[in-house]
Symmetry: C2
Subunit: 438 residues, 2 copies
Amino acid sequence: MGGSRTVTAISELRVNGDRLWGRLEEMARIGATPAGGVHRLALSDEDRRARDLFRAWAESLGLAVSVDGIGNMFARREGTGGAGAEGRPPLVLGSHLDSQPTGGRFDGPLGVLAALEVAETLEEQGVRTARPIEVVNWTNEEGARFPPAMMGSGVFSGRFTLADALGATDADGVTVSDAIDGIGYRGALPVGGRPIAAALELHIEQGPILEEEGCEIGVVTGVQGARWFDLAIVGEEAHAGSTPMSRRTDPVAALGRFLVDAYRRIERDFAPHGRLTFGVLAAEPASRNTVPGRVAASVDLRHPDDAILDDMEDALRAAANDACLERGAAWRLDDVWRSPPVRFSGRCIDAVRAAADLCGYSAMRMLAGAGHDSVHTNDVAPTGMIFVPCEGGISHNEAENITPAQAEAGANVLLHAALGLVDPPPADMLSAPTNQPV
Amino acid sequence: MGGSRTVTAISELRVNGDRLWGRLEEMARIGATPAGGVHRLALSDEDRRARDLFRAWAESLGLAVSVDGIGNMFARREGTGGAGAEGRPPLVLGSHLDSQPTGGRFDGPLGVLAALEVAETLEEQGVRTARPIEVVNWTNEEGARFPPAMMGSGVFSGRFTLADALGATDADGVTVSDAIDGIGYRGALPVGGRPIAAALELHIEQGPILEEEGCEIGVVTGVQGARWFDLAIVGEEAHAGSTPMSRRTDPVAALGRFLVDAYRRIERDFAPHGRLTFGVLAAEPASRNTVPGRVAASVDLRHPDDAILDDMEDALRAAANDACLERGAAWRLDDVWRSPPVRFSGRCIDAVRAAADLCGYSAMRMLAGAGHDSVHTNDVAPTGMIFVPCEGGISHNEAENITPAQAEAGANVLLHAALGLVDPPPADMLSAPTNQPV
């Protein structure tokens, strides 16, 4: 076996946590807010600068950066199985660099920069893989400026058409198409339509469970299903002073009954996985001395099992019906969005779990809330996700925070899960010649 | 007994309903909206045109129109007891000509134009009263453009200072002072500070009771007390996808408990007079996939008895406390406004009842919701109100409606209630010389 180098066990490979943290800090300076967060909306000038920085880092590692027609960026480390489009399908590792309007520093960038760190670690240690590895930055995951969210991965997987995505507009009427051209990130690569061996995404949990369980790694087994509705309860406007209670059809009274019953049903019958959220609530016409004619609420229902989501929806409708019958009000529940539950690939889940074990991190299986690019890549490739805890479970918030050790742990698990998924798996010794698969 | 004329019983005097209706229709053309309502905000150009029309009608009857420093207009029919400021205190009849932004045709103008019709009927029939009668148009009853409501009568009665009222601004920053000058209705007459014998106001009910009871006249015995609060229930923002129900402090769940308990207590323990209205309701930060951190609601509590209002407020606080304890949320209830209950003068109530009986109208005693100029005149003079039904109880709405017969009935009761309050009361024969009290 030609070539010789310091022999180290593959199982002892670790990323350089300081380097990763330094890059996270440097990236966080682009669009930094005074309160310690990030304002880096998709396809904005801040996004352009983040992309330029990512491209510069990737190219300095010798990775070839290509951009597709929706702006998704792929930094490719060739495998030994052959370069270019003729080679084996790549392993795709990454996440997104765009942020919420007042977002945090880690939601997205952790997954992209940890993937870059994995590539650099392999490069540094001379580990060649048979499959190419691509570090991806998906365009517009947040959807904060241009709905819908997870746009780039959605076009890549075929959920959205390229034309629809390019035609989406922000609040000022600017199209995605113009914004992409404006920052110079419309690439020549076709969007999707090529095989992917597997996809892995490291992300902060954006919830409190890992922290509360004192667990270092979340082995994400899938994404719960989500259904969004608009609920309206309709009564009759009346003067607050002159209309006796007995003569009112007060939709707020019906709402009270409905809420108690809805929470009781969901909390009692669908624990621990069922989730019910009324994020938006408003009475109309919103006058202090007028009994509202109408109450509107958004409804967010989640569960990992689609059949159980059906039951939850039924329970919700029954609660609305009972409450409104009692109060003589009318109601309607309109569909807004449905995201069926996602089960990630068993191979990917196993690879993440094995990687955490190998590195000696405590790990637990868990579900993600809906809303990651992995939901879309799962349509076209075996997909897995790794979670690390975030402080207080806080995300979509300038206060979002993780420790350098948490970032490093996540990147180490990403590294070994990736190595577990390259085909064939590398031998456990870094003694192989760099021109052969390991 | 000098002079001779057709002798008619005073008890058979009636207003001219067609003339009254014609004036109501003509007034409704000023600021008319396509949907059949009225847009005639206080001190706007529409208000100026309404005031000009009222003044022209009054002057054509020989009434002397004076305007005070807040724009209140008084059209005076002299009594036989002596003219001018040296005479007996006047009987004041009227209401307001301003409207809600999308208001109805009768809320206010009915009271002003019926008072004018009373004056014209007396004039036409040669009925002289010892006391002067003044037909009043109070400035800015609605408060829709310039808060607070019932401004003109409030300054007249001393509830508000003239300086505060003149300094109030609309949404564009225009002051009442500038607006009054802009329409030329700042008068030389001092605001208030002069004796009033009694005040009567005819108004549409703005509620459904008279219509549902099939009753023609409401004998208003007072105005219920009202308390306004801002309620806030504070929980903890959380991601709708990643935060289990058991780890949430969801203020919407607490709101549900609170609403059920609050309605139960008020409807059970304070029926039939207690009233509870949540007109404004909102969750923050109002994002579909975020458990709200805070729910805010306006609270409007009403009852005719102030001590019972204390008990209702206690019940409300207990309901908030119980609900929030159960859900681990916090709450606060902030005072916004307190309007103590008002009891109208027994003499005025009796005069209205007697007038309805004399005219053969069905009548019932009832309370008004807070919010009429009569609440303020009651501070400085014996005051009474007359209600007529309005279609479906609808008011503050372009669909507000009454029939010509209802307007006429109200004006006839106003006429005879006024005659019952002039001192000395007129004899029952219209045979008296026009230069003697009747």
